[in-house]
Amino acid sequence: MADPMKIRAQMKGDSAEIRVLMNHPMETGQRKDNAGNTVPAHYIQAITVDVGGKRVIQGQAATSISRNPVFGFRVKGAKAGDKVVIHWVDNKGESRTDEATISG
């Protein structure tokens, strides 16, 4: 299974600031290894973010995103104590779901 994400979620004024660090090689499929063989593409394709049981982000990602990427966003209407659930799926069908609680 893929390695866990690091999620930070904190209220800033009337919105929640959520930042997530994902553990992923994000291979583009365009690189070659030392032997000259193409390194197969391996990247996150879809990301969803649920806050307090409500889907706030449903997004697509592709090969232009770095290895071990960081995403940050603000969610209006969220409150301290809400649960944040982040989920990704990559092109090999591997996936990972992690949770955090918004702090005050």
């Binding site: 390695d3 690091k6 660090l21 553990n23 290895r67 071990n68 960081v70 940050g72």
Partner: protein
């Protein structure tokens, strides 16, 4: 006569001003300040945390062939004590009768308690874009447990003093195709390589710059590198033969540099371009 006297006086005043200036640490250039801002922004979300998490998992949950865990590992403050241990190494360890730096000690413990093979670790001591050796993650976690603490490497035991003195000597030792030493680049104020200012590692307030940010996450390639790697790379840049991994000479060099930086605050694992 009066004219000559005033000239002489002016020259004396200027010499005094130069002397005062020379004692000040060099002013930061605009470029250095921009780099620092850039680094600050990145430090907020440093992927090094992902490696800290992996290291913590190994430290707390991995078991050796006979059920031993890293809780038995003494980093100098007692078995299993990790908080503040990183900034108090390199230090003398009585059980091995040797001075060890953090990475060397962590590898020692992983071999002793978790059943890792030293030969395997030596085969792949550093990370690349495909592999992060387990001990690199553990060192990253151990370093993170000394975040925002003052560096306080001991220099009391005769072997610690010896390591410091040898390190000081290595720092100034000129050799290789370019007749280089560490001090060629890091022994005077105001040196730079391309746009990067080079710290004078003989000054405590600048010696911290060789310590700060390691272990570091390198964005180019996206992997975690340790201080041992950094020392290897310095040797490579000087066109020295590649040092043996975890050798006495690197520990000595790290002892010298860490002791010089004593009293400065360590910010934890860093991020590098």
């Amino acid at each position: 006569m009066k004219h000559r006297l005033s000239m002489l006086m002016a020259a004396t005043v200027m010499a005094a001003a130069c002397a005062a200036y020379a004692q000040q640490p060099p002013a930061k250039s605009a470029i250095t300040e921009e780099f620092e801002k850039f680094r600050e922004v990145l430090e907020e979300d440093n992927p090094a945390e992902l490696f800290e998490a992996k290291g913590e998992d190994i430290w707390k949950h991995a078991k050796g062939p006979d059920g031993a865990t890293m809780a038995q590992c003494d980093l100098g403050l007692g078995a299993g004590v990790v908080k503040g241990a990183y900034v108090r190494m390199p230090r003398y360890f009585a059980d091995v009768d040797q001075v060890m730096d953090a990475e060397r000690r962590v590898v020692h413990c992983m071999v002793k308690y978790l059943g890792y093979k030293e030969a395997d670790i030596r085969k792949q001591p550093f990370s690349n874009d495909r592999v992060t050796p387990d001990h690199v993650s553990v060192v990253t976690w151990v370093a993170g447990q000394s975040r925002d603490m003052k560096i306080a490497a001991p220099r009391k035991h005769p072997k610690e003093i010896e390591a410091y003195n040898i390190g000081k000597e290595i720092f100034a030792y000129r050799a290789g195709a370019y007749d280089f030493s560490c001090a060629t680049c890091h022994g005077a104020d105001g040196k730079r390589i391309r746009t990067q200012d080079l710290p004078n590692l003989r000054r405590p307030e600048e010696a911290i710059r060789a310590y700060q940010g390691w272990p570091g996450y390198r964005m180019t390639g996206g992997f975690m590198l340790t201080q041992q790697w950094r020392m290897n790379d310095c040797f490579r840049q000087q066109r020295f033969p590649e040092p043996t991994y975890l050798s006495d000479s690197i520990t000595a060099l790290l002892t010298y540099m860490t002791v010089t930086a004593n009293g400065q605050v360590y910010k934890g694992p860093g991020i590098k371009r």
